[in-house]
């Protein structure tokens, strides 16, 4: 599959969230821990191996970047291990390597996320450094210019990367002018102009306790976690400065076809329409509906027709992408230029038939057994569990969601799925973008 822009990555998180939940199969217990200083976290204790994973996030990602500063959140992710407090970049990184902890950051469209893993024996010293990094990052000139060179190469590379081009064009068509359709990492012009003050400003707006959510899994007790949370996050400001509340995004409707001509053997095709948000009351039936039609594996209706029967692509997927201010429904495939028209027509045909007839009872039953049976697979490592728990918090699904989720999927009826297929599938209104030299597309 093609790499999606960050604005569509919620789709992947969401699949991760939903693919699975044999409630009885999950042996672990989620505790809600509140630190002495009032910071909340979800914790799963797992003492079998001497490691701890912590995932956390702040509300407000790339969509809140000021105009002209596009890419500043991504840039910030690259600067978080380049010195903090009194420690210059080299000293910080040397210490990090010695302690062997892992620290990562990701700027999504709705959330700015952090990941952290440490060995139990180094936990105190590692979290001292984590605290320093997130509360007092330095933006010294040397690392700033060095990291800028990396981002300039990244931006140039993405501007020529066919899947990124196809998705960028698709976002520009469906959400013209909306912050969601900005390039993830900014442009050469914005990256060239970002200053230390811009980074400080972005850091001040993102790193605040009021939107902080935390999931911890591994070799730590609830009693130990409380003080750790206060140490790491307690020094952050309570609230972000006032930020403008962005209005709901308004997706454009197709049909629309945009071709970006590029000399290469295979066409990269992105397609889709408006979708729904996660808080839609019919979200779960809609999700089951979309899984049957276009989940990434070999057995979806789209894959059976376009890959298995016709041999036209290595992979086709089509799925819901719920975000904070809009829901989208996006798909992609790659096929040789000569068969671009045939593959796209075949996709439209499959979607049309499914919209009209819906799945068979057998299709639905098989999808349910897969979705419920595989839930536990998403909880088989510390890192994976932390990732799931953070996602559940971000979507406000509740601490008992892991236990409830399979029953929600089980309860979906054939009529509900058919209704969602009729509601959400509009094969005659697709927005389609193609990069390549496609033949026969319309």
């Amino acid at each position: 599959m093609m790499t999606m822009p960050k604005s569509l990555r919620t789709l992947l998180l969401f699949i991760g969230l939903f693919v699975g939940s044999a409630a009885s199969a999950n042996a672990f217990t989620i505790q809600e821990v509140t630190s002495p200083g009032g910071i909340k976290a979800w914790l799963v204790e797992e003492h079998a191996i001497p490691l701890m994973a912590m995932n956390y996030s702040f509300k407000g990602g790339t969509e809140l970047e000021p105009a002209g500063k596009e890419g500043v959140s991504s840039f910030l992710t690259g600067m978080m291990d380049e010195g903090a407090g009194d420690m210059l970049s080299a000293e910080f990184q040397k210490k990090r390597d010695e302690l062997a902890f892992r620290m990562s950051f990701d700027a999504g469209s709705d959330f700015f996320e952090g990941g952290f893993q440490t060995l139990t024996k180094n936990r105190d010293a590692s979290t001292d450094l984590l605290r320093l990094a997130i509360t007092a990052p330095r933006f010294d000139a040397e690392p700033l210019d060095r990291v800028r060179q990396q981002f300039l190469l990244n931006v140039k590379d993405k501007e020529q990367d066919p899947p990124t081009m196809a998705w960028q064009a698709w976002m520009d068509e469906i959400l013209p002018g909306d912050p969601y359709s900005r390039p993830d990492d900014g442009t050469e012009a914005t990256i060239a102009a970002i200053t230390a003050d811009d980074l400080k400003n972005a850091h001040r707006h993102i790193f605040n306790r009021d939107t902080l959510q935390v999931a911890v899994v591994g070799d730590i007790t609830a009693k130990e976690l409380g003080p750790l949370l206060d140490k790491v996050f307690g020094g952050l400001p309570e609230k972000a400065p006032e930020q403008p509340r962005l209005p709901e995004a308004k997706p454009a409707m197709g049909p629309k076809l945009k071709v970006i001509e590029r000399d290469m053997p295979q066409s990269v095709i992105a397609f889709g329409t408006e979708g729904i948000k996660r808080d839609d009351p019919d979200f779960i039936p809609a999700f089951v509906m979309s899984e049957i039609l276009g989940s990434g594996g070999l057995t979806s209706l789209l894959s059976e027709e376009i890959r298995e029967k016709r041999g036209l692509t290595y992979g086709v997927s089509y799925g819901l992408s719920p975000m904070d201010r809009v829901g989208l429904y996006a798909g992609s495939l790659q096929t040789k230029n000569e068969s671009a028209g045939e593959a796209l027509d075949a996709a439209r045909e499959v979607i049309k038939k499914y919209a009209e007839e819906g799945p068979t009872q057998k299709d639905l039953d098989e999808a349910k057994t897969f979705l419920t049976g595989s839930y536990a697979l998403r909880f088989s490592s510390n890192g994976a569990i932390a990732n799931q728990l953070l996602g559940i918090q971000q979507q406000n699904l509740g601490i008992d969601y892991v236990q409830k989720r399979n029953a929600l999927v089980e309860a979906v009826t054939l009529d509900q799925v058919k209704a969602q297929a009729r509601r959400l599938l509009h094969p005659d209104r697709l927005i389609v973008t193609v990069v390549g030299r496609p033949q026969g597309v319309k």
């Binding site: 044999a22 199969a25 999950n26 672990f28 079998a48 191996i49 001497p50 490691l51 994973a53 080299a90 990184q93 040397k94 390597d97 010695e98 302690l99 062997a100 892992r102 893993q117 060995l119 040397e142 060095r146 060179q149 990396q150 300039l152 190469l153 140039k156 590379d157 501007e159 020529q160 066919p162 590029r262 000399d263 290469m264 295979q266 594996g297 070999l298 057995t299 016709r310 041999g311 036209l312 692509t313 290595y314 992979g315 997927s317 790659q334 096929t335 040789k336 098989e366 057994t369 897969f370 979705l371 595989s374 839930y375 536990a376 697979l377 909880f379 088989s380 490592s381 510390n382 890192g383």
Partner: protein, 447 residues
């Protein structure tokens, strides 16, 4: 090369650089079934989940001349059906039981795996054992799948200038040995592969004595033994597995350079690979000295490359070094640099050569060795959090002629490496005659 991309496995280079630390004492049991099939069990009771993998000790380097890509095509076709489970039933059954699955092919091995709830382990064993010997193919299933593989090749290689360059670099590196042809195969040969080609490869290589079963997760060795004897035990070896005699490389007498310009390339990129022995031909101490060399040269922000190319001279935005000997016959030591905007390839390359020459002639320091070794040991522990990665660590080792003890003794052997070992590794490896340099350049757009 994998069956489909969504579940693509982690990159093996990551595992080549890291390994489990011995202080952690991985709980692993191994035994053989009467038919010669090796079984490896890695218990992990944290979740009621198991990873079930069957590795065949065969891959693209075992293909006959003119049939490039048949090992990988067969991997795709293994999902098509048997008399007992026809018409793609394999994937539907795994899915209906809530399982994840995928497969991958390399030069030396082909592996199939499922991740399922522990009570489904007998089911996936039954399916996997069935398709080891009863695959049934028709032109109706083979021809569309061959087209899928051609699309996979276009997606991974032909649409990607970096993919095309790497393919050419491999072809230049190996003058006689089959590692010079891509795992996915050349377009001209893959497009002519037939049902019979796939069946011939299947008949020659898919036998119990040529396979390794690895089960990681919520099981005991006794449980796995009972199940493996029930499902895999009855399989008979139909013919002796062919010896893996591949053509030896002649002595490398000249360095090679591949330059490719393409309008799809945004910025220049430089890389070089040196031919090395494979892990099984080296003592583990020698192999680890080479891994440490890669770490010292370009494995972290403290490395020689980063300190000089990225920080002091501001020539490169990205740089690094890696070593991978997890193949049967040869390994590679690689270095790369992406010049900063405005810096030419020639300037960056000159500095890289100066650093490498300095390492080869003057050697490394004890402090560099200690720091690199500590970094490697400390971060190796993270592999324990993933049953998939643990399973793969053992699978790769066994499929490339290494042993379970090699994996278990990783940290002990690492602790033995001396400055002299690393310096010897540098002198041995960094021979330009045994290298291929690859340069990727932008080109004025044709439109």
């Amino acid at each position: 090369m994998t069956l489909f991309k969504r579940l693509a496995p982690v990159v093996f280079a990551v595992l080549a650089a890291a390994g489990p630390a011995r202080a952690l004492d991985i709980d692993v049991t191994s035994f053989k079934l009467d038919n010669g099939m090796q079984v490896v069990v890695i218990p992990d009771h944290r979740a009621p989940v198991v990873t079930h993998m069957v590795w065949y000790k065969t891959g693209a380097a075992d293909e006959t001349q003119g049939k490039a890509g048949v090992a990988h095509l067969l991997e795709h076709l293994m999902f098509k059906g048997t008399p007992k489970h026809p018409d793609g039933a394999f994937s539907r059954i795994v899915r209906a039981n809530g399982g994840d699955e995928n497969a991958f092919t390399t030069q030396d091995y082909t592996a199939y795996f499922q991740k399922v709830m522990k009570d489904r382990l007998p089911l996936v064993m039954e399916l996997e054992a069935d398709r080891m010997q009863n695959l049934e193919l028709t032109d109706e299933t083979v021809l569309p799948e061959r087209s899928v593989v051609l699309e996979e090749r276009r997606q991974r290689t032909d649409n990607e200038p970096a993919g095309l360059l790497n393919e050419q670099m491999d072809a230049a590196m190996y003058t006689a040995h089959p590692y010079g042809k891509p795992v996915i195969g050349w377009m001209s040969q893959v497009s002519k592969l037939t049902r019979q080609d796939a069946m011939d490869f299947y008949a020659a290589h898919y036998e119990p004595e040529n396979a390794i079963l690895i089960v990681a997760g919520d099981v005991t060795p006794d449980e796995v033994k009972t199940l493996a004897e029930r499902y895999y035990g009855p399989l008979k070896n139909k013919r002796p597995t062919p010896e893996r005699l591949r053509a030896e490389e002649p002595p490398p007498n000249a360095e090679r350079r591949i330059t490719m310009s393409d309008p799809r390339v945004s910025s220049p990129n430089w890389q070089r690979q040196y031919l090395t022995p494979s892990a099984r031909q080296l003592s583990q101490r020698e192999e680890l000295a080479m891994s440490i060399l890669a770490e010292i040269v370009g494995g972290s922000n403290q490395s020689r490359f980063f300190q000089t190319l990225n920080i002091d001279k501001k020539l490169a935005a990205y740089s690094g070094a890696w070593f991978d000997a997890d193949q049967l016959d040869y390994g590679s030591f690689g270095v790369y640099a992406s010049p900063n905007p405005g810096v030419t390839i020639e300037t960056a390359e000159k500095e890289v050569d100066a650093i490498l020459s300095d390492v080869a002639t003057k050697g490394v320091t004890q402090a560099e060795l200690d720091r690199s070794r500590n970094n490697m040991i400390a971060s190796a522990v993270y592999v324990l959090d993933s049953q998939d990665k643990l399973a793969r660590l053992f699978g790769v080792a066994l499929a490339t002629g290494q042993t379970i003890d090699d994996v278990k003794n990783w940290d002990r052997d690492l602790s033995l490496v001396t400055v002299d070992d690393v310096n010897k590794a540098a002198r041995t490896i960094l021979d330009r005659k045994a290298s291929v340099t690859g340069v990727l350049l932008p080109e004025a757009k044709s439109q």
